[in-house]
């Protein structure tokens, strides 16, 4: 199949154009053998189905980072048919730097077409570009576009087949000289005024104004996530389960005779003749309710907010602000982005550490994230256990995790050899995100979560039933009781929750609630469950990312630190 590759610098609005060209049927996947994600979709040109691939943003073909190297490999590998076409997307407000990549693409000798994106922004930034002249010089079609309004997309669509190999000749060492000449020839600058968004953009990286802005944004984000998440649960998911699903399951329950192994596996134990979706522990009750009605609503709310912050251009600014602090943990500011991703789900968070250059940074970032950054499932668990004690109980748990995150980062930074590289990042201007592309991204993240979470929750619930039936929890409980009771001060029955926590944390709530723990025990159980091991899905990703040896080291750190912290809490609370 003929392939069209979208290639351009980061932050040039590629995903909006991709989304305009391809419609709904889009898949995001990891490039084979790597964790660099790319999206692929399809479009029709003259009644022929054509694949469209959105190559991750690159500044140059002489890759300057691991992620860029993979993107460049992908680009070279995907061009294998003489009809394959590169659509080079350029930020028209930064013609000079963007043309550097364009000239490198010209040297590849493949059919090329150039989009001058953000065309609408040239007007108020006082930039005029002579499109015809640029087309003449480059010898390939040049089309002004605006991904957000859709301007120029039709033209791009109809002219894609006109893409051709450029005959523009230059010596590599004269590249910047040539670019200078081209820019001189086609671009005129007039006086401009700074816009409100530019002023805000600058204010949010200056420390004095930046920190208050950051705090306001984070608080507001938290408020939105909570409101959206709670409304989804209260008005959509709980009514669905209570009003529609529950009567069906009760009928099934009486059909199965209200008891027996099959009944317990599918439906679980009834509490006062009713289904308790958290504690019943059946595949069709707890197994579905926990991931769908307890965690998913917050995942949806969280990724909506995070993707908005991402696409608006805020996150690199946050990275710059926290850079000095993150260096104490052996990381640079941008690692805050993978930490934030980890708050949704540790799996994409662990994948997100790919933006960090060194193995050392990736090890520190993944380890402290897996231990101390609670994902939405863990947050749901903590709220389920400690939420009844209000802000005090919650702040004990999250405060402890925050301190652990910092202390562990500092310790790893001091003990591991090497140093952390410095931040080097482009700060894009604030832009209002293209909502359709944003929603598609949120949708892909949600489906990824559902695929990761639901099967493991179901497996977890199934295993719980088997282990209960075989009395294995009691057996292990007796063996582990010195640790669980002696160090952590928890009853030995809590072992079951700790075992299932290897698979999923959210399922463990239903096992702890019936134990009638005190607040102190709930706090300790929450902290230890969050810290001692990531869920199995994150674990699998970390093995792929770090390698088995590093993962074993990380796992040892996890166990030691969770027992230490749990033990300390047991002594001081």
């Amino acid at each position: 199949m003929k392939t069209i590759l979208l290639v351009g610098n980061p932050n040039v609005g590629k995903s909006a154009i991709f989304s305009r060209l391809t419609g709904v049927n889009v898949i995001a996947s990891n490039y084979p053998g790597t964790t660099v994600e790319y999206t692929k979709g399809y479009m029709r040109i003259n009644n022929e189905k054509v694949a469209v691939i959105d190559i991750p943003g690159i500044y140059t073909l002489e890759a300057t980072s691991e992620a860029e190297r993979i993107a460049v490999n992908m680009l070279e590998k995907e061009i294998n048919d003489e009809n394959d076409t590169i659509v080079n997307i350029i930020d028209s407000t930064n013609l000079e730097r963007n043309l550097s990549l364009t000239l490198q693409l010209i040297k590849l000798r493949v059919p090329l077409i150039v989009c001058l994106n953000f065309w609408d922004e040239t007007k108020h930034t006082g930039i005029q570009i002579d499109v015809d002249k640029l087309e003449e010089i480059l010898g390939v079609p040049v089309i002004p576009t605006c991904g957000i309004t859709g301007e120029g997309i039709k033209q791009l669509h109809s002219r894609i087949s006109e893409a051709k190999t450029s005959s523009f000749e230059f010596e590599e060492e004269d590249r910047w000289l040539k670019i200078g000449e081209i820019v001189e020839n086609v671009q005129t600058l007039t006086h401009r005024h700074h816009t409100f968004w530019e002023r805000l953009g600058d204010a949010s990286i200056k420390p004095i104004t930046g920190f208050p802005i950051a705090i306001a944004i984070l608080l507001f984000s938290f408020y939105i996530i909570r409101t959206v998440g709670e409304s989804l649960i209260g008005y959509v998911f709980e009514p669905l389960f209570e009003k529609l699903w529950s009567p069906l399951i009760l009928k099934l329950s009486s059909l199965l005779g209200s008891t027996g192994f099959v009944h317990n596996v599918l439906i679980g134990k009834l509490v006062d003749g009713e289904i308790d979706f958290v504690e019943s522990m059946g595949l069709l009750t707890t197994g579905l309710f926990v991931p769908i009605a307890m965690v998913l609503p917050y995942i949806v709310a969280f990724y909506l907010v995070l993707s908005f912050l991402e696409d608006s251009g805020y996150l690199p600014r946050l990275g710059v602000l926290v850079d000095s602090f993150m260096h104490k943990l052996g990381l640079h500011g941008l690692s805050i982005i993978s930490m934030l991703l980890g708050v949704g789900c540790n799996v994409p968070g662990a994948l997100g550490t790919r933006i960090l250059e060194s193995k050392r940074e990736r090890f520190i970032a993944s380890t402290i994230m897996a231990i101390a950054i609670p994902c939405m499932a863990q947050i749901a668990m903590v709220i389920g256990l400690v939420g009844q004690y209000g802000a005090y109980g919650l702040s004990l748990v999250f405060g402890t995790l925050f301190i652990v995150w910092i202390v562990l980062g500092i310790v790893l930074n001091l003990t591991l050899k090497g140093e952390s590289p410095e931040i080097f990042v482009e700060i894009p201007p604030y832009r209002f995100p293209y909502l359709i592309a944003l929603l598609k991204k949120v949708w892909m993240r949600i489906t990824m979560f559902v695929k990761e979470a639901v099967p493991y929750v179901l497996i977890g619930v199934f295993i719980i039933n088997i282990l209960y039936a075989l009395h294995i929890f009691e057996f292990i409980g007796n063996i582990a009781s010195p640790i669980v009771k002696g160090i952590l001060g928890l009853p030995k029955e809590a072992v079951g929750a700790l075992i299932i926590g290897f698979l999923r944390k959210d399922v463990a709530v239903g096992m702890l609630v019936p134990l009638q723990l005190t607040m102190k025990q709930m706090v300790i159980a929450s902290v230890v469950l969050t810290m001692y091991f990531p869920c199995i899905a994150t674990f699998a990703i970390l093995i792929k990312e770090l390698g088995v040896k590093k993962m074993i080291q990380a796992a040892i750190i996890m166990i030691i630190s969770s027992l230490t912290v749990g033990g300390i809490l047991n002594l001081i609370l």
Binding site: Y59, W176, I205, V320, L321, F424, E426
Partner: protein, 82 residues
């Protein structure tokens, strides 16, 4: 007027890049983002505790660590103007 390190330039001042004292990796990375010898830049912000520095070249804003900024040598342009 002598050449100074980018860290010695004050926020808001403009300068021309004279040299980038770094390995091929840093030079490439800088060049890819539009930072190379001969371009005019404006220093936007600096952070306390030797935090990162942000500069603007044309319409591009770039942030990098203090250590990198120390290796970028610039010539200060006398007046502040936009």
């Amino acid at each position: 007027m002598g050449d100074i390190k980018l860290t010695d330039l004050k926020a808001g001042e403009q300068a021309i890049v004279v040299a980038i004292n770094g390995g091929i990796g840093l030079k490439r990375k800088a060049e890819a983002q539009g930072l190379r010898v001969g371009v005019k830049l404006t220093k936007l912000t600096e952070n306390f505790l030797r935090g990162p520095i942000t500069i603007r070249i044309n319409n591009i804003t770039i942030a990098f660590g203090y250590g990198i900024a120390q290796r970028i040598i610039v010539k200060r342009l006398s007046e502040k103007k936009e």
